[in-house]
């Protein structure tokens, strides 16, 4: 616990921007894993218990999950693009010289792909709930 608090308090200063990306990658990954387990359970019920499968699909259509959906989209887009940067750079060490630029590009790509996605989903939810 103490180690965790140190990370939360000092993590933002330690090593600068690279460390923030590293932490954001972990947090978004945990968020995706949490939903993945719930999602796979819900979908598997399509075979084992269709009534429960329907309940889970209907739960995803509630306002709470509509907000969570936006968070999931943000986590997924960021984790995918940042992860692609990590994978490409670590599998091609000669690209390490471009480390800073690659981080900036992946952030720009996250915003360019993520923001329109979130806007489209938010508009769909607003149109559905606010009528």
């Amino acid at each position: 616990m103490e180690g965790l608090m140190t990370i939360v308090k000092e993590g933002w200063r330690y090593k600068g921007s690279g460390n923030v990306m590293w932490m954001a990658h972990r947090i978004s990954g945990l968020g995706i894993m949490f939903f993945l387990i719930l999602h796979v359970f819900g979908m598997s019920m399509s075979f084992f218990n269709p009534a429960l499968h329907e309940i889970m699909l209907e739960t995803y259509k509630t306002p709470l999950f509509a907000v969570g959906e936006l968070g999931l989209a943000a986590c997924l887009v960021f984790h995918s693009i940042n992860g692609t940067r990590i994978a490409l750079l670590e599998l091609r060490p000669e690209w390490w010289l471009q480390q800073k630029k690659a981080t900036q590009y992946s952030l720009v790509a996250t915003v360019v792909i993520g923001v329109p996605m979130i806007l489209i989903m938010a508009m769909a939810s607003i149109n559905h709930f606010v009528k």
């Binding site: 019920m45 084992f48 692609t84 670590e90 489209i120 559905h128």
Partner: protein, 144 residues
Amino acid sequence: MTTQPLGRTIRTVKPIPQARNNFERTMWLFMRYSGLALTLLALTHFGYQHIIVGTQNITTAQTVNNWGEAGKSINLGQFAWRAYYMAILGLAMLHGMNGVRQIAWDYIGNNKTAYTVFMGIVVLLSVIVTILGTLALIFGATAK
């Protein structure tokens, strides 16, 4: 490794020893390659269901339609859906479990009991859910 007063670091270069822990090496490579594959697979899945179909329009009928009904023969399209989901399911679960393992090791690794109990719960939950999901993808959806 010695540090000079100026703050420069001098490292003694030794030949790289043979990897003793093949599991960690395999998982390191797996995280990179599965991550690249999942970028394509998971983003297309999310984009299709949430943007093209729309969360409010996802129904049990869509599941039955895409996967094919349990106990009936399936067409090529339904086979493709199942193979696609099977690939995402397996890769994402292994990728996620290993990610959680690394995070748990970093923060509670010094407490063997907490680490073992936490990872036991995570692995048990993930494996059970993966088995349920795989069986559902093998047999298909039950029509109401």
